[in-house]
């Protein structure tokens, strides 16, 4: 350890003011503080001790909460691959291998490109490299289809980091969730690679007879035209090559096609547990998203104008990326509502809007992503009114 420290110490003067690499100080700082917690002490006046937490550790906690989703996702990509080519009995090792081959490059591209942009901006704009990207860099791969072209991942990352974050002044300032911005970018820029039958990685193999790359959401949306009962369509789906793939229990467990990290509600709930226990993610938001979704689902049942509306409300909770969005996207402290009252409204509206978009907007069955983006836009307004209520209370108190 001391040896490494010495290396850093000997390099440090070059990066400090007047050093030959002065420009790159913040790049150096990022590496240094990554390896060693800095030796800075508190100022003479004010708090003399500080909580042991820092942004890095906070972000690390979120990443750890995502690990179950990631691991499951890697296995699932392989599993879906073998299901689709008619070899469901393939060895777990093979499945994981296929998954790794598909997923790891996406993660590498996401981190390499994203951090690259961060370092360039840190150097040009002379501000510290922020840890925020640690989480974003992991979220981006998890919301991508398994066979997304890598250049698109790179492009989306660049767009999201520059336009979605750096333009606002960096971590903590952005208005829209950066990972969702990346996904929305792809969704609108290259729609053919992120919608339709892209959720199963096939590679060069020919799919088994009867294979369909549909997702539960597309089945739901299709029911609008076919008028078939959604639940029975879901239960019948996959007959012959993947029996019961969309049964309720499997929808919950998550061994089905979808974005790399978002298929399994179970894994998302484990993540949610980690976030809630550690207090890093707001339980209010998670709970209110689920509540909003469920209640909106019930409301739809009551209207019941078509088959998709009649789908039992509980299904809304397990199909699509709702759980993943609720746990990892909606809780992003920067873009969520920042007042405690606001969080309830914010989460609830995400849930309601998700269901509305799913049911009423045949073009975008994946309503969660757009619902969160939309509420990101309105979160400052919610906060504005919550803050105003606080001000009003103060003012009224004065006049009483």
């Amino acid at each position: 350890m001391k040896l490494i420290r010495k290396q850093f110490d000997s390099l440090k003067p070059h990066f400090e003011k007047g050093g030959k690499w002065e420009k790159f100080y913040y790049a150096y700082e990022a590496f240094d503080t990554f390896v060693f917690s800095p030796n800075t002490v508190n100022e003479v006046k004010g708090s003399q001790i500080r909580d042991a937490i820092d942004l890095k550790r906070l972000m690390m906690t979120v990443i750890i909460a995502m690990v179950p989703c990631l691991l499951f996702g890697i296995w699932n990509v392989g599993h879906q691959h073998f299901l689709a080519i008619g070899n469901p009995g393939a060895a777990p090792g093979d499945k994981i291998w296929v998954g790794l081959v598909q997923v790891v490059p996406i993660i590498i591209v996401s981190y390499a490109v994203g951090l690259g942009v961060e370092f360039i901006f840190a150097t040009i704009r002379r501000h510290p490299v922020n840890e925020g990207y640690l989480v974003t860099g992991m979220l981006i791969p998890l919301v991508m289809p398994p066979d997304i072209p890598l250049w698109q991942v790179a492009l989306a990352t660049i767009f999201a980091v520059i336009i979605g974050k750096e333009a606002f002044g960096g971590t903590g300032m952005n208005v829209l969730n950066v990972a969702l911005t990346a996904r929305a970018f792809l969704y609108f820029a290259y729609p053919s690679d992120i919608s339709g039958d892209v959720w199963t990685y096939l590679g060069d193999a020919t799919p088994v007879a009867g294979f369909s790359g549909a997702t539960p959401l597309s089945i739901g949306a299709a029911s609008l035209t076919t008028g078939e009962n959604v639940v029975s369509s879901l239960n019948q789906f996959g007959a012959g090559w993947a029996d019961g793939i969309f049964s309720f229990s499997n929808l919950f467990f998550g061994a089905m096609p979808g974005c790399i990290g978002e298929t399994s509600v179970l894994m998302c709930l484990i993540g949610a547990l980690i976030l809630i226990v550690t207090g890093v993610g707001s339980w209010k938001i998670i709970v209110s998203v689920f509540a909003g979704t469920y209640l909106a689902g019930l409301g739809m049942n009551m209207i019941g104008a078509n088959e998709f509306m009649l789908m039992p409300a509980a299904y809304h909770l397990v199909i699509g990326g709702l759980a993943f969005g609720a746990v990892f996207m909606a809780t992003d402290p920067v873009t969520a509502s920042q007042t405690e009252t606001g969080k309830w409204i914010y989460g609830f509206m995400i849930g309601v809007l998700s269901v509305i978009i799913r049911v009423f907007n045949p073009a975008y069955p994946e309503g969660v992503m757009l619902a969160i983006l939309l509420m990101n836009v309105f979160a400052p307004l919610i906060d504005y009114y919550v803050v105003r209520a606080n001000k009003k209370r103060r003012l009224q108190r004065a006049t009483v």
Binding site: I163, A167, G169, M173, L176, I357, N361
Partner: protein, 203 residues
């Protein structure tokens, strides 16, 4: 039901700002504080509600081909559509003036909040744009009224949300070249991205 649908469509889907970029000048200039944004937004809703149906009348009974037959059958086939722009803009300007005067008389309180924004509105492209779209899309009078109001609401929603975001961003360290207009553009673009969730919604 069709009217409700049209209303929702005009507020969210065919949003004046995100889909047609109309009324951008005042949208960019008057979105620094939520309170003023609400004032301007309300004024736009108010004026649009009056002006779109008013222009509908003008279009229907004066400008359209053979529109003047209600005066005398000899006007059959007469087409005054080349006067459309000038008539519309004149009506908008006159109406705004009138509204200003009436509001000042009837409700000084309302005038206090809306008054300063009303003159701004005559040159707000969202107003003229709505009038022209109304003609292009061949709305009925009821549709025109709904369209006017909900276009205004959509515009108001956009400017108020933007103002809240900009208030929040007061504290951030934005690259200097992007300060103000540039960043507002980016925010508007990203807001448009989020608003896309409504595109295609049909009730």
């Amino acid at each position: 039901m069709d009217l409700v649908n049209l209303g929702i469509k005009s507020i969210f889907v065919d949003n004046m700002i995100f889909a047609y970029f109309l009324g951008m000048c005042s949208y960019l200039a008057v979105s620094k504080k939520v309170s003023t944004a609400i004032g301007l937004g309300a004024a736009v809703v108010f004026v649009l509600t009056i002006i779109v149906p008013a222009n509908w009348m003008v279009q229907q009974y004066i400008l359209k081909e053979s529109a003047l037959t209600w005066l005398s059958p000899q006007f059959e086939g007469m087409n005054l559509e080349f006067l459309q722009f000038i008539m519309f803009i004149a009506i908008i300007a006159a109406m705004v003036q009138l509204v200003e005067m009436i509001v000042e008389k009837v409700s000084p309180a309302l005038y206090g909040t809306l008054g300063i924004f009303l003159p701004l509105i005559a040159v707000n492209c969202a107003i003229l744009g709505s009038a022209l779209f109304m003609v292009q899309r061949d709305y009925t009078l009821a549709e025109a009224a709904v369209f006017g109001t909900s276009s205004g609401i959509g515009w108001m929603l956009a400017i108020v949300a933007l103002a809240a975001i900009r208030e929040k961003l007061k504290y951030s360290n934005v690259p200097s070249g992007l300060k103000g207009l540039g960043l507002t553009m980016i925010i508007t673009g990203l807001m448009g991205l989020a608003f896309k969730s409504f595109i295609g919604i049909a009730l």
